[in-house]
Symmetry: C2
Subunit: 461 residues, 2 copies
Amino acid sequence: MSVDKVLARASACRVESRARWFELLRIPSVSAQPKHAEDCRKAADWVRAQLAEIGFQAAVRETQGHPVVVAHHPGPTGGGRHLLFYGHYDVQPPEPLELWTSPPFSPAVTEGPNGPRVVARGAVDDKGQTMTWLEALRFWHEVAGGPPCRVTVLVEGEEEIGSRNLEPFLEANATELGADLAVVSDTNMWDANTPAISTRLRGMLYTQIDITAANKDLHSGLFGGSALNPINLLTRILGDLKDESGEILIPGFYDDVPELSEAQRKQWDALGFDEKAFLGGIGLSVPAGEVGRGALERLWARPTADINGIWGGYTGEGSKTVIPSEAHAKLSFRLVPGQSPTKVLAGLRDFIVDRLPDDAQVKIQVFSMSDGIEVPADSPWVTAAAGALSATFGKEAVLMGCGGSIPVVSMMKRVLGLDSLLVGFGLEDDQVHSPNEKFDVACFERGIDSHIRMLAALAER
Amino acid sequence: MSVDKVLARASACRVESRARWFELLRIPSVSAQPKHAEDCRKAADWVRAQLAEIGFQAAVRETQGHPVVVAHHPGPTGGGRHLLFYGHYDVQPPEPLELWTSPPFSPAVTEGPNGPRVVARGAVDDKGQTMTWLEALRFWHEVAGGPPCRVTVLVEGEEEIGSRNLEPFLEANATELGADLAVVSDTNMWDANTPAISTRLRGMLYTQIDITAANKDLHSGLFGGSALNPINLLTRILGDLKDESGEILIPGFYDDVPELSEAQRKQWDALGFDEKAFLGGIGLSVPAGEVGRGALERLWARPTADINGIWGGYTGEGSKTVIPSEAHAKLSFRLVPGQSPTKVLAGLRDFIVDRLPDDAQVKIQVFSMSDGIEVPADSPWVTAAAGALSATFGKEAVLMGCGGSIPVVSMMKRVLGLDSLLVGFGLEDDQVHSPNEKFDVACFERGIDSHIRMLAALAER
């Protein structure tokens, strides 16, 4: 039966799979940094070439930002199912560079508890995960001449900066990108040996707050006691964001936050998540977030307000007695299904303006907005995928939530009417978005095998 | 009478005086930045050479940091008064460079409301002010063969970073540096036409607060709701520093803050300070600081807590969804006579530790500490100096306070038992510590003439 032949081929070609993965990791496609625009295009073209090699009609398509790769394969004649595979070739900035044990864009193989792992920016998010299904499609091509069903591929280059230009692209190409189901590998497994399907994602509102006061930097001795200090003001405003119990104090913030269903709570409790160990891995011991909520509830089903960056005044060595003219912060919110990023933004604006004295001006820039989403846990797609995962891992697949946001998932639902199947092979200790991001080789290879089986299982239903 | 001859010589040599002033301004002696250590030494040696040229026994003396220039002149035989002139050759960092209209270390002459002005880092603070008395001493040398009394000169290179290494130096050389009075030009006039003597200075406590939490940067989606965010924590702590009325909430902070005497309040009210205009000049309209206090009281006789810099997380372009592992702020306090920097530091430490959750660590670095000081307003020195100033400006000299801190003044009182005479020629709009720092040529030249007259007046009493 051809699935086994495809699996055999994959296991005979581990070295080649890893080599292709490394090629992609060597391209520093950092979407947030203009200096890497050409590298983003290089990554897009590399993906396009891979798809062309395995029988897809593939093209690099322009957007207002970094390009998108779109590819099509008709599958076996006679139609049948139509799957859309989504991934992104862009990565987070590697900074702070000094904390990397090896250069972020030179993949290095090191040993970990689960055997060899590959350290590089994008090792897992999302180049490594994208390669798991790209390689699965490759082996279906090499063994069976193509995938077992019709396949469309969409690989974007702006996921790490909020997929700003993807929505207009989806709208402009809605017909071409229509399918029965989107398959997305950008999430985690439950643990190194337990595969998982994510049925929830949090949404996101990412803002930058710019506060300005005096028209120039001032001497704190000559003006201190009379002139407004925008950094003091910024800390007053942001310091008010939450109360002692971790509750976010923006008026109306919780209006559309649903309580977790008893069924969901029970299912998650059954997972026996060990938050102490989770935090211990990053040198912490006390849970932050809302007091009186379960650990997985806080991570998967409650909103957050995190300051991702802050700067203003003199930040160099030694001392400078300055009252600066401006202060800045990057503030983002993780949102749950039901919350509207637009409504939260309006609340944030009021919250800030209420605390703003006459002499201060505020500018709020929005870098990304996406809804939280919930994928029907009982859909036949999920059942089919769970079977393929269990066969690969020899263990029941777990249905879990995910605290992260994949804007494109809600976007594909909204614009293309597509449900997404979220099957990823990352692990909690992958240091995603951090220095020394890694992906276990075992996860990578089982990811390939899982996608080979899922293609067959999803094609058949 | 020789004072007039010296004044005539000075007015005949304005071009040469300005040339010497520019030479010093061209040396980028930024004490806070290690890369400029050699430039600091260069500035010290330039000052030493100037003093040697005009008959002083001058030497560059080593410290743990940037060197100190010490010079001696016996004056006319037969002893008499002994003055110590203090200045500093170091300057503040010029950043942000993009806001300068001309390179900070290439003095540029532009036109202002009071005629020509010189734009450069250090134009006034304190290179320009130091040059006013250096030039006065030069012309006394050229006309009368030397100053009218015994003179010791002390020019340090670490004033802008808290004069860290000066105290041990003063202690080690207390006998050599003994004098009847210290003369310091590092303060402002009342306005462009009204000379002033400052009888108060605020003290200073300058700290850096470093908060650390997780052992690495984290993904805000995977950890948001469970992991402590050190930036949120830092803003909570610093946002608590003051209440709505601008009162500083560190326990015991005001214990040693004396109320202003009625006499002092009356004298300051009589100055008719226009805070609206003062703030208007920097684009502000509403006084900050403690509600219900007079403008000059807030600037001269009340303590402050200003955040001079803050940084943490991602501060680049675009967005990065990170929960960082650390956050930092530079926080300084202006203190009034009576307050102990050590006691305020202890209070700050408790204030922070009280708000610190188990998983966060804090480090508090201290960059500078100095007491506020009050100079006896009725001393004969002040009377003599006021006479010389009035003669130069044709206008009564004003007795004022100063919101800034000159650590060395309290240090000289403590270690050498020296009172200081604070006579400066700066103006409120000099943009001290800011881009485009300037010094009006008229202030510079009247400063020289005032010092020529003060040397005579102080020598005689």
